[in-house]
């Protein structure tokens, strides 16, 4: 059942005649999921920084 369908790696990447349609789509998928992962991590870091700033402000008000 698991047989590589292309004669060579070059043929795999060419995926004639449709490589030009297929590969960019998978690149886009990678970009979207990777990009959203990055956005989430950044938003999380920013939220932590915001709470830290608020804490520091509270401390200076108290002192």
């Amino acid at each position: 059942m698991l047989e590589f369908q292309f004669a060579s790696l070059a043929a795999f990447f060419e995926m004639a005649p449709h490589g030009v349609y297929v590969w960019p789509i998978y690149g886009l998928g990678l970009l979207v999921i990777g990009g959203l992962t990055w956005v989430n991590a950044r938003q999380h870091r920013q939220a932590i920084r915001m709470v830290q700033r608020n804490l520091e402000r509270e401390e200076t008000h108290e002192s």
């Binding site: 047989e3 590589f4 369908q5 789509i25 998928g29 979207v32 959203l36 989430n40 999380h44 939220a47």
Partner: protein, 246 residues
């Protein structure tokens, strides 16, 4: 036993403390499944006798198109939970799912258009399936925009919830569009009730990728929800303690 499993979701802290671990597990699981499923579909599944290699877009297109609709349904369930139980976390989930759902809908539309070019000879036709999916994308955008336009989070949540519930009418239209109208889009490739029309060597990797993308969506939604919970609960003692310790 009882309702404790459900009431726990009422506590943003309970969720935040656990979601990090769930997110990690989902992330790695999705990565493994998607690498295996995509390589399998791209390199090892047999060539389609009619469409040639272009059909390999199916291993991304079908999973993300499923998710585009499933995430809208999930958002509607969150809206119901928000209205019935006033659960804050349901609104957080609604906010996260709107963004991720739009991303998956856009991917479904773009991958479909690119697949259409070699198969139908055109990127776009105003066909029932394509048009109803485009409306789904606009519904997601509407929900995102509505939240951005209302400053009070409680009011924004309620307004978004109503829009989400009204938009549910589009889901059966998408699903049955290929049966109710004569469309260029092919009918469903996989059905729960019937044997697939393609051989196992084609649908097994598709199933792997469907599972992979579902878990990837869970990973993305959990990550986004964690950040939003911190933002919204920034004045809560537990958040201050958590950040103070870090």
């Amino acid at each position: 036993m009882g309702w404790r499993w459900f009431h726990q979701w009422g506590s943003p802290r309970w969720f935040y403390e656990r979601a990090g671990r769930w997110q990690l597990v989902c992330g790695w699981l999705a990565l493994i499944l998607l690498v295996v499923g995509s390589l399998w579909g791209l390199g090892f599944a047999p060539v389609d006798y009619q469409q040639g290699n272009s059909y390999r877009i199916i291993y991304l297109h079908v999973p993300v198109a499923f998710l585009a609709q499933a995430m809208y349904a999930a958002m509607a369930v969150c809206a119901v939970v928000l209205f019935v139980w006033k659960m804050k976390l349901a609104d957080v989930a609604m906010q996260s799912i709107a963004v991720m759902g739009f991303a998956f809908t856009a991917m479904a539309l773009i991958s479909g258009a690119v697949w259409g070019k070699p198969t139908w000879g055109t990127y776009w036709v105003w066909d029932a399936r394509l048009t109803s999916m485009l409306i789904l994308a606009f519904l997601y955008l509407g929900v995102i925009g509505l939240r951005a336009a209302i400053q009070d989070p409680d009011q924004a949540g309620k307004a978004c919830g109503i829009l989400v519930l009204v938009g549910v009418v589009n889901l059966p239209i998408i699903k049955y569009s290929v049966e109710w109208w004569n469309t260029l889009h092919q009918p469903a490739s996989l059905k729960l009730t019937e044997k697939p029309a393609m051989p196992a060597s084609m649908w097994v990797p598709l199933l792997v990728n469907i599972l992979g993308y579902y878990i990837a969506a869970a990973y993305l939604v959990l990550g986004s929800m964690r950040a939003i919970v911190l933002e919204r609960e920034r004045r809560a003692t537990w958040v201050k303690e958590l950040v103070g310790r870090a």
